[in-house]
Structure formats: C-alpha cells, structure tokens
Amino acid sequence: MNSIVSRLDASAAVRELLGWLLGEGRTDAVLTPRRLPEDGSCDLALLTAPEGLDRAEPLLPVMTTNAGQALSHLSLSGRRLTAVLKPCELRAFTERVKREQGSFERLLTVSFVCGGVFPLGRVLSDGPDTLAAAALEAARRGETPAGVRETCAACEHFVPTNADVLVSSGEDGCRIHLCTPRAEEALEGFGGERVDTAPDPAGIERVLAARSAARAELYRALPVEGGLDGLIDLFGRCVGCHGCSRVCPICYCLLCDFESAGLEGDLPRFRAALDERGGLRLPSGTILFHLGRMTHMSFSCVGCGMCSDACPAGIPVAAVFGRTGGRTAALFDYVPGRDAEEPVPVTVFREEELDDIG
C-alpha cells in the first residue's frame, strides 16, 4: 500500500502528521495521548490547534483510559475528528459502533503496530518519559518492552486491520501506511517520499510467536477449572467496586444491571438465606456480577487490560475475561473489532445453532 517514509520515530512522526492535518484544515480536532510534565502525569487530549501538540505523545505506552471508550461519544458530533488509537482501542471502538455508541462517519483513525502499554503503577513510579523511552527502544529492536500489562504481552492483535492510517516502526524511523481511500484523501500532499510497502511480515511473525506463547502461559495459570471453588479463588478478593466495568471500553450501560434495584437484596431475603444456608457473604452478588458481565460482554473483550490495571484487589480480570470471551466468541466464529459490519452474536438469530452445547 501507499506508504510515507519518515526519519522520525513513530510518535514524533504522528505528531507531525496531526499538526499538518490541523494546519491544513483537513480535520477539526485530534485525539491523542499527552504528557503533562508539570504534574508528572499524562492524559488523553482533544486538541483543536497545532499549537497544542507540543506535549502530545501519540505512541505513549500508557493507557489512562481506553480511547475507544472516550472517542465514542465525541464521534457523534458534526465535527471531523482524527483519533490516534492503539489496536485494541480501535477494536473496542468498532465494537461500540456496532452498538450505536459511536460512528466512523467523520472519523480518521490512526493506529500502529503496538508494543503494549505499561501498568498505571509503573506510570506512577517511573513517570511517562522513562516509559516512552523504553518503548521506543524496544520498538526499534522489534520487541515487546519488558513490564507491559500481562494482556499486552499476550496480545495477538497488535497489528490493526482496519485503521485508516497505520504506522510501523523500523530502525531508521517509521513508515506511515495509507490503508484506505479516506487516508489517501486526508493526507494528500503530506510528507516526503512515498513507497509501496506494508509492515514487515517477518518481524511481525516473531513478535506474534512470543505473544502466543505468553498468552498460553497466562491462561494456563488461571484457576478456572475448579468450579465454584475456582471462582472463589479467582474473585474472592473482589470488593464489588465494579471499577473493571467502568473502565471497560465495551461496558456502555448508564446503569449496570448489577447495580440496579432489581438485583438488590433486602433484609427479609437475607434473613431467609441466613436461615437456609447458615451464612452469606456481604456485599452480595460478588461472583454473580462477574459471571453476568462475562455473559453480557466478554465475547467482545479486546484484551486491553484496563480492568486488571484498575482492580484494587489485583484480580486478573482481563485474563479471565479474555480467555472466557475468546472461547465464547470462537463458538460463533466471531472476532471482536474485526469488522464494523459484523453483527454482535447476541443480536443474531439462527434457527439451529450450538447443538453441541447442552
């Protein structure tokens, strides 16, 4: 495909690209990660003028919020938007578009071959600058940085398939691949040398092999085969904060079913349970919440790992949901985020299906 050569590292190249788009009036606003050096933190920023880009860090290996989630509401406006998205964020956004929570209509997506993000705890201890440097170094070597989220180390979808613009890193800078007519149109006149190339398959194969091995290991370590006892081992520490659901890009409900009045207990019911079973755990519904959320959304899980990172009890939510969700999705030959036209399995009726389940 038509690709632009840049001598800059990928993050700087994308920064330049965003500035050009804004300056040329090809877009109304850009969405990109940003560093806030005075506070030692970082955020996701919506910028409307090139002047605001000086602290933008498009390939910052940090995910304070899944941009696919933040983007969905914004994408419903009448403005043209360019969004820098990690592959999982793009897939998450695609899943949200399928559920009427966003639109591709006026959106230009910029994604990249992703090395992963560091856990929030590392942002706190090391600071964004150190992490950015580590990621850059690893990208030059075509490797996954050490210490990224365990779901990132195990992620096989690190090369986005339906971005408009795809950026891949190399030893001598990076390549900006224009994957769609929208990208071609938006970036007409940008940059220097154009070549016909694609991200290096051999390098990708290498990384993929490492990721698959990590994935297998990650799932193997989960105590998911133990029935209820296994679930208690997994979710016993859960404090019922539902933070996993809030940071999840797929969970879009304003009021979660598991926070609604309908599923609450009341004193007479607790009393009856006490009489029947001799004891019960409070707050109630800890494991029900997880099983329920798995039922509702796990087949759309894109493995971004926000849930595990946010969990105050250190539960490997992302690994569990990724594993369960992956197996469920496989039953329907479904891959979340693969194609915006592919319907969500729960919305599809087939007269005969899943004969082997039962």
Partner: protein
C-alpha cells in the same frame, strides 16, 4: 444512546422561531433580519430538523396571535420559539395560542430579547448578537422539552372544619346555610365547646342535614391544596376515614394558662381555689359557690392577670369575664364580699366599661395592686405605692390568660402554617386577610388564631365562612401543576433528602422498595427536591438539568462581541 438525547428523530421536527418587533422596542435596536439570517445559517446544526424563522409586528395582538396560530398549522410546527418580551408579560399569551392548536403548550418557549437585549444593550450589533445567542439557547432548550398534559380538576366545594367549639359551629352553620357540605371533626364526645353541648348552636349543628359530625376524631394527615384536599381522620371508634374537601378551617380554640405555672401563684388541692372557668360553669349550671367544707365563703378574691408575666401578652377578654363573674357572685350571694385584685383593667369595645359599671354598682370591691402573690388562700399584695399587705380570702379565683390549644403545634406542622410569637396560628395578614393562612385553602376561626372574646370569635367565624364562600366556588375548575417532580425508581436510593426539603409534603417514603415517591397531585413544582437530590434520580419536569444546561451551553457557544474574549489557556477540565 445518541449524543443528542431528547431530540426527536430525524425528519419529523419543525421548529418555528418568530421574532416580535414590538414596534420600535425590539426592532428599533435589534436588526431582526440579521437575527433571522444568523439563525437560518445555524440551522444545519439541528440535524433532521427544519427551521422556520419569521418576523412580525406585535405578536401579542389579536392579528399577531392569529398569525401564530396559522403559522403553527400551515407549517406543521412541532416546536415553537417566540423571541419577544419578558415571560411575565406574555408567556401565558403564547401558551394560550398553542392550546388552541395541536401543538402542546409545553413544546414552546419564549425568549426575552426585549428586556434582556434591546432595552439594556446600547450598541445595536451587540444587542443583535446577544439576541441570536439567546434564541439559539431557546431553540436548544425547546428541543429538549417534553409535551406535558394538563388535567383540570373541578374544585371540591365541601369544607372540613376542625374543632366543634363556638367558632367551629358558627363557621359550619354559616357555610351549610349557604349550600355547602361541611364535615366537622370534634375531638370530644360532642360539639359545643365553651357554649356547651346543649346550647342552641350545638343543637342547630346536630340537626343540620349538610353538616356531618365526626365525634371523638382527630385529623392525622393532610395532603392537597385549595380545592383539592384529602384529609385522613382517625376515629376512636372505627377505622380511619379519608375526607375530601376544598378548604379546611382550623377552629381548635385555645386553653387557659395553668395558674400554678405563674411563679406568683401556688395552691394545692387542700386550698379553696377555683379557677375562673370552673366557677363560670358552676354558676351557669345554677350552682352556688361553696367551700370544700361545704360552707359558703364570706370573702372571694378574683386575681387578674395570672400568667401575664410568663406569657408576655394580654389575653384581652379575661378582665371582662372576671368582672362579669364578680357581679354575678354578688347577685347570687349579696352578703359575700367580692373583690377584684388587679393592676390594670383591660375592657375594650362597646360595653366594656359597662361591665365595670355593673360590677361597681353591684358592690364588687377593687384592689389595685402592683403585684399579688398567692399562696393557697392568702394573698400578699403590693399596693400601687409599694405598701405591702397580706389578706386571707375564703375563696380565691385565679383569672389566667389564654394560651394556644395543645394541638396547635401538631396541626401547624402538618399544614405548614407558621405560628405567631405567642404560639397561635398566624393569619395571612393582620389587616387584609385575617382569616387566611400561608397555606392556600386553610382558614382560621376563633381563638385558635389568638385570644378574643366570644363576640369577636363569632364575628371572625363569619368572616372565615365568607372568605371560603367567595374563594371556593362550585363548578370552578383548577389545573394542578404539571411541571412537577418525578423520581426514577431505578436510580433512587431512598435517602430522603427530597422528603426533608419538600414544603408541600408531596413526597413520601416507600420502605419496601427503598425509594421516595412524588405525589404529583400535591407537588407544586418548586424544585427544592431537585436541588437536594445528590443523584440523577429526581428531576423536575420542564426544568431539567439537561434543558437548562444545554440552553446555557448553546447561548454561550457563539462569541458575542460585547463580551471579552476568554483567555486561551490549556485547561484540564
């Protein structure tokens, strides 16, 4: 959920924006053609909606209203925005126009481009820009409004009277005599009060076909408003009853101050001390004053103003009663010495001094004293010049002041009526509305409103009945508020903040569901509860946060030339 929640689906929305020239008042300062052009240029923002913008001379005139009516019909408008004067002037005018069409009056909004723009901004371009901002805000707001449906009620002309004493009976008879049905709630076994249950008034009340007496009953709960009250009455015998009435009269009377609560008065059961009221009843029943040992008293002292210092006010009718009683005692037992001990005498009105003359003529003695301290049957008197003396009287009659009835506080809280400094129900206005109260539909009669003599009390009762007869007319219709609050059960956690701040008693708790619930028939849409709800569970219709905030957002979106440019700084919200 789409970003523009509350906006109607594409293709069905037609917003009519009408700009009133108001003669030179608006058109003289604001360039209405420029406003129209600016609004139409922004029309693309309302995806799926069509915008019609026109100007007109005087929209509030007859032809103007007809013009609007025709426009609504001809353009099939689904929403209406009128850019004109203050809502206080003509909001209801244009709501009336809508009511005459298929357009729900709550899908309309008036935007004030006269008092807020043309009349206060000298620079025409500034005024024009401001008007555009306001109108954009108004359009955004009206798009988020929901149709609301008024349901008129016929007023209930019946009246509930609480208290079957002199004033309560008088009010009931006056109302029933004018064709109203009355329910009279009496705490005791029968109506009568100080006039007695066999008085002519009590007899008349019992016999009247339009007066229904609930004996040994009490009002326990009231909801509603003028024309539409629902009152729960608990009965000693039988289940509680709900009475519907259009007005409520508080005629619960008063009681007398307990004499021994006055530090200058002490006596016990072994003393020959009989309070004024008891002695009055004794004589009224044909009895004679006798001491405890059965002998007739040779000397009687009536001690005025018992409790005056504690209460801090004069009860106004006790001196006359005391002197009248003193004269009667003299008449019943001419050989008995009867003395009135007082510092001052309060004898207002026609006939007041007559009572004093009759008392003097019948030989009632008078002791003027700065102070009289009673211990049992002994009075320690301090004369006006300070000379002390002590004297024993065979019989002492304390004359105490009037204090509010026991139930006053409870009923005041229930009906949300303030009390005055003395603890009686406070009237709406001393001069202009002495029978009404702060709660529309609740009226006062008798001494529940403050100490007064019987004649005055009856006069007040008549005035109360008159007020009700004119304010509550059978066949009239009232429209309960539709811009009321609503609570979304799914979100409410029953914390009760809203219940605490509601001054109309319109919200109650549902402990089984663990939520609060609004009674829409009682709610007046004041919005106190909306401000108190920490969650997203409660909102007041037609004034939702979303409507208000979007209107402001939209109005501020354009940079109005008269306002300074905001500083361009990168701020993390």
């Amino acid at each position: 959920m789409s970003a523009s929640a509350g906006v109607r689906p594409a293709g069905t929305v037609r917003i009519g924006v009408y700009l009133c020239e108001c003669g030179p008042n608006i058109a003289g300062r604001i360039d209405l053609d420029a406003v129209r052009d600016a609004l139409l240029a922004e029309g693309g923002r309302y995806r799926g909606a069509e915008l019609v913008v026109k100007r007109y001379g005087f929209l509030c005139s007859g032809p103007g209203k007809q013009f609007l009516t025709d426009e609504i019909r001809d353009n099939g408008l689904t929403h209406l925005v009128v850019g004109a004067c203050s809502p206080r002037d003509h909001d209801s005018t244009f709501m009336g126009v809508c009511a005459g069409t298929d357009l729900n009056p709550y899908l309309y909004r008036i935007v004030n481009i006269r008092e807020h723009c043309a009349w206060v901004i000298d620079d025409p371009s500034g005024a024009t820009g401001q008007a555009v901002s306001y109108l954009l805000g108004g359009i955004s707001r009206v798009l988020r409004q929901s149709p609301l449906h008024e349901r008129p009620l016929e007023v209930n002309p019946d009246v509930l009277v609480i208290g079957g004493g002199a004033a309560g009976m008088e009010t009931s008879l006056a109302l029933a005599g004018n064709g109203r049905r009355v329910v009279l709630v009496e705490r005791g076994p029968a109506p009568g009060g100080c006039m007695g249950s066999s008085s002519a008034a009590a007899e008349a009340v019992r016999r009247h076909p339009d007066i229904r007496i609930l004996r040994e009953s009490e009002v326990s709960k009231v909801i509603g408003f003028l024309g539409n009250f629902e009152v729960e009455v608990t009965r000693r015998d039988g289940p509680a009853e709900t009475v519907a009435a259009g007005a409520i009269v508080l005629a619960i009377g008063s009681r007398t101050f307990e004499p021994t609560d006055d530090p200058d008065v002490s006596y016990g059961p072994d003393d020959d001390v009989v309070p004024l009221e008891a002695m009055e009843r004794l004589l009224a029943g044909g009895g004679e004053p006798l001491l405890r040992d059965g002998s007739p008293p040779r000397s009687v002292a009536l001690v005025h103003c018992v409790g005056r210092g504690e209460l801090g006010y004069c009860s106004g009718s006790c001196c006359a009663r005391a002197l009248a009683l003193a004269a009667r005692l003299r008449a019943v037992r001419p050989d008995m010495e009867v003395v009135s001990v007082h510092r001052d005498l309060c004898l207002p009105g026609r006939g007041g001094t007559g009572i004093l003359d009759r008392a003097d003529a019948s030989g009632v003695g008078r002791i003027r004293a700065l102070r009289a301290v009673q211990s049992g049957n002994e009075l320690a008197v301090e004369a006006m010049d300070g000379t002390p003396s002590k004297r024993r009287f065979d019989l002492v009659i304390p004359v105490p002041g009037t204090v509010p009835a026991d139930d006053t506080g409870r009923l005041a809280a229930m009906l949300r009526i303030p009390l005055d400094e003395q603890g009686f129900f406070r009237e709406m206005h001393r001069m202009v509305d002495p029978s009404g109260t702060a709660t529309d539909g609740v009226f006062l009669a008798g001494t529940a409103h403050g100490p007064k003599d019987l004649r005055t009390a009856l006069r007040f009762a008549g005035s109360c009945a008159g007020q009700i007869l004119t304010r509550l007319v059978p066949g009239e219709r009232l429209v309960p508020e539709v811009k009321v609050s609503e609570i979304l059960e799914a979100y409410c956690t029953g914390c009760g903040n809203c219940r605490e701040v509601c001054v109309y008693g319109a919200i109650h708790a549902d402990p089984d569901r663990g939520i609060s619930v609004v009674n829409e028939a009682v709610c007046r849409g004041c919005g106190n509860c909306y401000g108190s709800c920490p969650s997203g569970a409660l909102r007041t219709r037609h004034f939702t946060n979303e409507q208000l905030l979007r209107e402001v957002d939209e109005a501020l979106r354009r940079r109005v030339p008269v306002l300074p440019e905001p500083p361009v700084a990168e701020v993390h919200p």
